[in-house]
């Protein structure tokens, strides 16, 4: 029941997954495995038949900078890319990538545990160890695979994974891939988490999975309190810091650092596809036996490693992110400016105060949200449309993620675009 059916829909409809298939009529076909997608196909057809541009099939025709691209032939400000630190066009990062492409070729054609570990992969892991001040670092081909691999491998049969209900799809999929008992609790609810930990049978292994920043609303977790509770019950703690790396905490290590509890986190999961500005994922840890993961973690073993140019850009970017106090400060200013501006315009936001570089604008429903998304795109602004059931409490959101490279002037322009679009659609 209770969950199985719902989760399937959730995975299918989670953010960013494009369902570009047209509803081809195959009436009367017995045993069509695609008939389970009919409700989703109908919802999409209904939305698009109203003339609405498809929010999940946008093509970036040209990318001009971390904050600007050409979409539909129009110059567009990017406000939904998670490119928090604007590293994608950093000259040092690009030079490192070009050099590695020349020196090592276009790809490794192999697993990390066979022929797919180059010098660059090790240098990337060294950069991560230095960045986080931790003993071990393991680079995966994506952030998704890092969560998938670590969670499914360390929590085995008879163990319990206790996780926030608003966890990212990669965390849920890590749970689904493994054999542990899965116990979710209400978002950021310390008491609900404690009750579940207390009821776990004595002697069972426990893994608590939390995120520093939750990407839908841009809110942060009370990690200090939650980790203290987890430790009281003898649980290991994994924190996904995908949306905090590079700008939250004194050294940009994330929310756990900002709240002074880095030493109590057993595993930090992160990604290269946000602040680092390329693609890849990782886990860092001080666990003395951590290196064995390289042999037992299937999403690490049974896939090809990242191309040499990608790990070279990642390593260069990570090292540069260690010394970026000015950019960090500017990113926070941008976040505060946008949050205040949108609040003053009368928009309803996901958080009362800016807690991260994500500002989520609440929409009354999917139709209005999609219309607003298109109106903003016509104005020359790209944001993410996030819709139920990927969103908490069935909300439709326009998610804005700021970049340290957004100028003060651009944020002003963005607010003007929101004002015009919001009035045209009738939201403000």
């Amino acid at each position: 029941m209770l969950f199985a059916s719902c989760r399937t829909a959730e995975i299918l409809m989670s953010e960013g997954i494009s369902q570009s298939d047209q509803p081809v009529a195959r009436e009367g076909l017995q045993g069509d495995l695609f008939s389970k997608f009919d409700p989703l196909i109908k919802q999409r057809t209904d939305l698009l038949s109203s003339g609405q541009e498809d929010p999940f099939s946008l093509v970036m025709e040209k990318v001009l900078s971390p904050t600007q691209a050409i979409c539909n032939g129009r110059e567009t400000i990017l406000l939904g890319t998670y490119n928090y630190m604007g590293m994608t066009f950093d000259p040092d990062v690009i030079a490192a990538g070009k050099q590695a492409l020349n020196d090592y070729g276009s790809g490794t054609t192999g697993s990390r545990v066979l022929n797919g570990t180059y010098q660059g992969h090790k240098q990337c892991e060294e950069a991560l160890k230095d960045f986080y001040g931790m003993d071990h670092a393991m680079v995966f081909s994506t952030g998704y695979q890092a969560n998938l691999g670590i969670i499914s491998t360390i929590a085995g049969k008879g163990d319990y994974v206790v996780l926030d209900i608003d966890s990212h799809a990669s965390i849920w999929d890590g749970c689904a891939l493994g054999n542990a008992e899965i116990v979710p609790f209400k978002h950021n609810d310390i008491d609900a988490m404690e009750k579940r930990l207390r009821r776990i049978p004595e002697g069972a292994g426990k893994l608590v999975v939390l995120e520093g920043v939750y990407s839908m609303l841009g809110d942060i977790a009370p990690l200090k309190e939650m980790i203290a509770v987890a430790k009281k019950y003898g649980a290991m703690v994994l924190v996904d810091e995908a949306h905090s790396m590079g700008f939250i905490g004194e050294n940009g290590r994330g929310v756990a650092e900002a709240q002074g509890v880095m030493d109590d986190v057993d595993f930090i999961i992160g990604t290269f596809s946000k602040s680092v500005g390329t693609v890849g994922g990782f886990c860092v840890s001080n666990h003395p036996k951590f290196e064995i993961m390289r042999l037992v973690c299937r999403p690490y073993v049974f896939t090809a490693s990242l191309p040499p140019s990608v790990v070279a850009t990642a390593a260069t970017s990570i090292r540069k992110l260690m010394h970026n106090a000015d950019k960090r400060a500017h990113l926070w200013e941008n976040s505060q400016r946008l949050h205040k501006g949108l609040t003053d315009l009368g928009f309803k936001l996901g958080t009362d105060a800016p807690q991260s570089a994500i500002v989520a604008v609440l929409m009354p429903d999917l139709e209005k949200g999609a219309a607003m998304w298109e109106a903003l795109l016509t104005e020359g602004l790209y944001v993410n449309l996030a819709r139920p059931p990927a969103t908490p409490a069935n909300m439709t959101l326009l998610r804005c993620s700021l970049c340290a490279e957004h100028s003060e002037e651009q944020v002003g322009t963005i607010l003007g675009m929101f004002e015009r679009a919001g009035k045209a659609i009738g939201i403000i």
């Binding site: 209770l2 008992e181 409490a393």
Partner: protein
């Protein structure tokens, strides 16, 4: 706790989630008849867990479709 007692407690816990006032029988399904979505499921499961001081993991929830199966599961979990 006797099965009948478990059943009546669960019935009263379902009430606030039973928006359409569907009559509950052993065969009533949560997803189909009561139209529980994943958010409702979370709150409902939490209410049951708190009432009986048990954990119903998602793995166990996957096996529960109907009212009678939930009563069975709660009886079993309680006696552990």
């Amino acid at each position: 706790m006797e099965r009948a007692q478990v059943e009546s407690r669960i019935l009263s816990l379902i009430e606030p989630f039973n928006k359409k006032g569907i009559e509950i029988s052993d065969e009533t399904s949560f997803a189909g008849d009561l139209e529980f979505d994943s958010l409702t499921v979370m709150d409902f499961v939490a209410a049951i867990e708190d009432e009986f001081d048990i954990i119903i993991s998602m793995n166990q929830q996957a096996e529960i479709e109907k009212f009678s199966q939930l009563v069975d599961a709660v009886c079993k979990l309680q006696n552990r």
